[in-house]
């Protein structure tokens, strides 16, 4: 009945180690080498990207990989480019790069807005897009961003790669469909005309994880919303998304009343739990409030100037 708290993000409670257990270290210089190393060391090995999620877990010995495979030399995965009508973001793109990318920002202001409130500059200089998605922390902001944008994830293995829609990528808190001998290599987002996006987050203090955060994307054609995406972070929404809210938006003309209804649905259909960031009722309220704000801003961005 009595026992150490479930870890949640309460680092340090379980053990106060703050020194990782002994670990071997390998540094890969190419994708092929990564796959070789993964094969050689098996399931007790872990790739390390920015290390801003993995190292803290290792310090309190919650994660105890036997081998670390450092992929920071894989500059081949550090790119943001347009290809095949998609924005393609390599797994090793750092938060700071995505935040200031003119290319990403031109299509989706949600990136810069979300990145500006992820952690702090020190974390953003090292943490990566791939690491964020693979960490699969329920509060990870980029998971909500990519859920709103209905992204596709590229997962590569030694001999093949596959694409997985973001809505099938996460299988639960801290788990994904990436296999033991695979890594995430790229995230793809359709380029959309007449689309708008935005991100809203409330944190207790700069650099804290979200109490709740909401990303939104809408595409408007002929006065009607033809596509909508809502991504939720930190409130245990399945796949970080709010399909009920998205559905009522699609096919309707944008209005305050419609936004209000969608926001209420988003608030109702997530599953936040109470923690020191807030009680359930507040988190639901926040989802509703932030969904309203993100949707309104997305809609105004989607509409042509002066409309």
């Amino acid at each position: 009945m009595f026992g150490p708290a479930p870890l949640a993000r309460t680092w340090g409670v379980k053990l106060n180690m703050q020194v990782p257990a002994p670990v071997e270290y390998e540094r890969a210089t190419s994708l092929t080498e990564v796959f070789d190393l993964l094969e050689r060391y098996g399931p007790e090995s872990r790739v390390i990207a920015g290390g801003h999620s993995l190292l803290p877990m290792m310090k309190i010995r919650l994660a105890r990989p036997e081998v670390l495979i450092d992929i920071n030399d894989l500059t081949e995965l550090d790119y943001i480019r347009i290809d095949g009508g998609e924005l393609r973001i390599g797994a090793m793109v750092r938060h700071a790069t995505l935040m200031s990318s003119p290319l990403a920002g031109e299509y989706y202001p949600i990136f810069a807005e979300a990145e500006a409130v992820i952690a702090d500059p020190i974390v953003r200089n090292r943490g990566t897009v791939g690491g964020s998605l693979c960490q699969a922390d329920p509060a990870e902001d980029l998971s909500a961003v990519f859920a709103a944008l209905k992204a596709t994830v590229v997962i590569s293995g030694k001999s093949s790669s596959r694409t997985v829609p973001i809505s099938e990528f996460h299988t639960g808190p801290y788990t994904t469909v990436v296999g033991p001998e695979e890594i995430l290599t790229e995230v793809r987002v359709h380029l959309r005309a007449n689309a708008g996006s935005a991100y809203e987050k409330v944190e207790r203090r700069l650099g804290d994880w979200a109490i709740a955060a909401v990303g939104a994307m809408v595409r408007i054609e002929g006065g009607l919303i033809v596509e909508a995406g809502i991504g939720l972070a930190a409130v245990r929404a399945e796949h970080y998304s709010a399909p009920e809210a998205e559905q009522i938006l699609v096919g309707s003309a944008p209005s305050d009343e419609l936004v209000e209804r969608a926001a209420s649905l988003a608030g109702e259909h997530c599953n936040p739990s109470a923690d020191q960031r807030g009680p359930v009722d507040y988190k639901r309220h926040l989802v509703k409030e932030l969904t309203t704000r993100a949707l309104k801003r997305s809609i105004s961005r989607a509409l042509p100037e002066g409309a």
Partner: protein
């Protein structure tokens, strides 16, 4: 900004760049963890994962078998040395290593000494402790329930979790004013458990020389001399063979006053292994196990006439002291100086009653720049005055102005017996209101309210109580709170001043040089400050409770004055005149009516060391010392105004402005004073909006890392607007009052009052700190949360 020196001669008070900055900005500070001794070993502490559990067995064999482990120490071993328990600072004991039970999560259970710190940590995992988990006492309000588990089974016959009852003031007189009052307002409030969280965590390097028997302890201590004496008393070590060395200290805030088990364990480790042992705790250990602050559940009751004359105040406190009563304060005062809670107001009567209880939480209680619980006192009175203003529908500034003590009432004896030394309160509040543009802000607020926007203006007027303290009233474990100081002027006119107090960032190496300079005329640059080494400094009780300037600063001033007096006799001998014919012109004794005939301090110093024949009875050299027993405390004060905006949708608070008028008497170095104020204001914003250590129902600490225990950053802080008034202390030789904790003491209620003022349209009367977005939103719904427990 190359030279802040105001006076071209480089002498005395004024803005001077801190002497210590030269090393700190270059990363050349020397902290405990920087100390490396030949053959040094490393210690690590195994801590309890449970809040309350019986220790069934401890198996250390696997850890001992680790190739790099040199010793594993358990409570059983310490018992054989009579060191398993040591006296606390409050008539209790604390466990160095648990023997029978663990009583809070994070309590010390075993200590490993190994060749490197990683091996020591690895070996912790090899220790097998079998626990039998017991029901914990987490909610202080239920600690005295008949069915609550008894935490202190180590105390013979103990059947409950009661520690003490203590009261101050005149209860009957207070009852009487309540009877005649038109208005009575009552309010429950919690000052949550918070943590000083100094940048540098606690640590020690213990070095026992097996041949000479001399034990040197390099330690993060704010009170090196007190520590030395305590080690001598507790461990039976001869005091002359003990040297406590406090190098650079990366922040103390009261966290580094007491003796922690880790220090004792490093000493035992060094004695056992005959090698130096370093122990430095990590961040979580610091947050979970070392001295917390506050944790006062308060019930305030204020009485007033209907036109707003405050008559009386009563406060009942339930004090959560954790598993051991280990608060640090003068012996007579189990609630510290809390009984200064009548604050800055002219009341007819006041009474407080404090009840202390044990819970399964870390011990501590007096820390975080609290001036021995003046923080809690200021919070309760400033909240109660605002609650009264709300009830009377009066502006909180008007209500305060009407009730503030008037200058002619000083020295003022408070209803609980304090003698406030000096004050000009209305002047400070007027200045703060003028700087803030108070009435314009109220106008802006009214306009915003009409538009549904939430803006709040909060005031706090505080009276600090610092400089402990007069020996006739105050001691810590029997040691009087007087401090020594020695000043020595070298033959060439340069000087060294030796202090008993210990800087932790306050800039003593600069300000004490300025004090000596101000009195003797020796340039600040020519005065070296020595501190933090018990072998080389006079005895004294250290730095906390903003006592350095009021006590040790006075000692330095008096010793310097003695130098000047002695210099006069020597100058007279040099000039072959009578001392009465000389007058002091800063830095120089000269003949009255003939200023060209005179001798500078440097000339006099050389003569004092030279062959000059001195007058009878006068010894050579130019040295002086002083042990200063302060006649009274000093009472700095200030008026603070905070302006906040609250997002009505998300309930997030933004501190827009903070105006702080401080009166700490004359300012030795205005730049350092402002720095102290800035830091304290940030603390206040932190405590008001985000800091707290809560516990879940199992007694798990929910503030065990800096991801959980939030400290404010520059982003949450506005650009501080500081102002000053100067009311010297009549009893300090230089009129100085101290300022180290003023802002931490004074600012939290200003922020809280501002937020609650913003929430007035929702009918909110009170919500406990920290006013996180969730708490503010809940308050707007009429359902504020308890902030000492896990959020449900």
């Amino acid at each position: 900004m190359t030279d802040l020196q105001q006076r071209p001669d480089g002498v005395g008070f004024g803005r001077v760049i801190r002497k210590e900055d030269a090393r700190f900005v270059r990363g050349k500070g020397n902290y405990v963890d920087d100390i490396v001794l030949p053959g040094m070993l490393f210690g690590a502490v195994l801590r309890s994962p449970y809040a309350h559990a019986k220790i069934v067995s401890i198996d250390t064999s696997a850890a001992e078998a680790h190739p790099k482990v040199k010793a594993v120490i358990t409570g059983a071993l310490l018992e054989t040395l009579s060191l398993a328990w040591i006296p606390s600072l409050s008539h209790d004991v604390i466990a160095v290593l648990a023997t029978d039970k663990v009583r809070y999560q994070g309590q010390e259970v075993a200590f490993v000494v190994a060749e490197d710190k990683y091996a020591a940590r690895d070996a912790l995992e090899l220790i097998d402790v079998e626990y039998e988990v017991l029901a914990p006492v987490v909610d202080a309000k239920r600690a005295l329930d008949p069915d609550a588990a008894v935490i202190r089974t180590d105390i013979e016959g103990k059947k409950d979790n009661y520690i003490f009852d203590w009261g101050s003031g005149d209860e009957d007189a207070t009852e009487a004013v309540f009877k005649k009052a038109d208005v009575i307002v009552e309010q429950d409030m919690l000052y949550p458990r918070v943590h000083p969280a100094p940048m540098e965590t606690c640590g020690a390097v213990a070095d026992m020389d097996p041949i000479s028997g001399k034990l040197t302890i390099y330690c993060t201590t704010q009170a090196p001399h007190a520590h030395r004496t305590l080690y001598a008393l507790v461990a039976g070590l001869p005091e002359h063979k003990l040297r406590v060395f406090s190098p650079d200290i990366g922040g103390g805030f009261g966290n580094k006053v007491g003796i922690y088990p880790g220090y004792v364990l490093a000493v035992v480790g060094s004695i056992l292994t005959k090698r130096p042992v370093k122990w430095v705790e990590d961040r979580s250990e610091n947050l979970m196990s070392t001295s917390f602050a506050r944790d006062y559940h308060m019930h305030g009751k204020i009485a007033a006439t209907k036109d707003g004359k405050i008559l009386g105040l009563r406060v009942d406190v339930l004090a959560d002291h954790g598993a051991f009563n280990n608060t640090a304060q003068p012996t007579k005062f189990p609630a510290g100086f809390f009984h200064v809670f009548s604050g800055s107001y002219d009341l007819e009567a006041a009474y407080c009653a404090v009840k202390g209880v044990y819970t399964n939480k870390a011990p501590g209680g007096v820390a975080y720049a609290c001036s021995f619980r003046v923080t809690e006192a200021v919070y309760v009175v400033e909240r109660m005055v605002d609650r009264l203003a709300l009830e009377l529908d009066m502006d909180p500034a008007d209500l305060r102005m009407k009730n503030l003590l008037r200058p002619e009432q000083f020295p003022y004896t408070s209803p609980t017996g304090w003698e406030y030394d000096s004050g000009e309160y209305p002047r400070a509040l007027e200045l703060a209101m003028k700087m803030a543009g108070y009435w314009d802000l109220r106008k802006e607020q009214a306009e915003k309210r009409a538009r549904g926007e939430l803006m709040g203006i909060g005031i706090s007027f505080f009276t600090e109580t610092v400089g402990a303290g007069p020996k006739k009233h105050m001691d810590i474990l029997g040691l009087g709170m007087a401090d020594g100081c020695e000043v020595r002027v070298h033959p060439t006119g340069k000087a060294v001043v030796r202090l008993s107090v210990q800087t932790q960032g306050q800039g003593h190496e600069t300000t004490f040089a300025q004090i000596v300079s101000e009195v003797t005329g020796i340039p600040v640059a020519d005065v070296e400050v020595v501190h933090g080494d018990t072998d080389n400094t006079p005895f004294g009780l250290g730095t906390y409770g903003s006592r350095s300037t009021p006590v040790s600063g006075a000692a330095a001033a008096v010793a310097s004055k003695r130098i000047v007096d002695k210099a006069r006799l020597i100058a007279a001998a040099m000039l072959e005149c009578s001392p009465d014919d000389l007058e002091w012109e800063l830095g120089r004794w000269q003949v009255k009516g003939d200023p060209s005939a005179g001798k500078t301090i440097a000339e006099i110093a050389f003569a004092a060391h030279a062959t000059l024949e001195l007058p009878e009875g006068l010894e050579g050299h130019l040295d002086a010392s002083c042990v200063y027993d302060p006649p009274n405390l000093t009472f700095p004060f200030g008026a603070y105004i905070c302006v906040v905006d609250v997002d009505p949708g998300t309930a997030k608070v933004t501190v827009r402005r903070f105006i702080a008028v401080d009166d700490c008497g004359p300012r030795i170095n205005p730049m350092i004073v402002e720095g102290q104020v800035h830091g304290g204001l940030a603390d206040g914003v932190g405590m008001a909006l985000m800091e707290s250590i809560a516990f879940d129902e199992d007694g798990n600490c929910l503030g065990g890392s800096l991801m959980d225990y939030l400290l404010p950053t520059s982003i949450e802080c506005p650009s501080w607007e500081t102002g000053e008034t100067v009311t010297p202390s009549p009893h300090h030789p230089l009129g100085l009052k101290g300022v180290g904790e003023s802002a931490t003491v004074g600012s939290p209620p200003a922020v809280v009052n501002a937020v609650l003022d913003a929430l007035k349209p929702f009918g909110v009367k009170h919500a406990d700190m920290p006013l996180t977005p969730a708490q503010v939103w809940r308050a707007m719904q009429g359902r504020p949360m308890r902030t000492d427990m896990a959020i449900q």
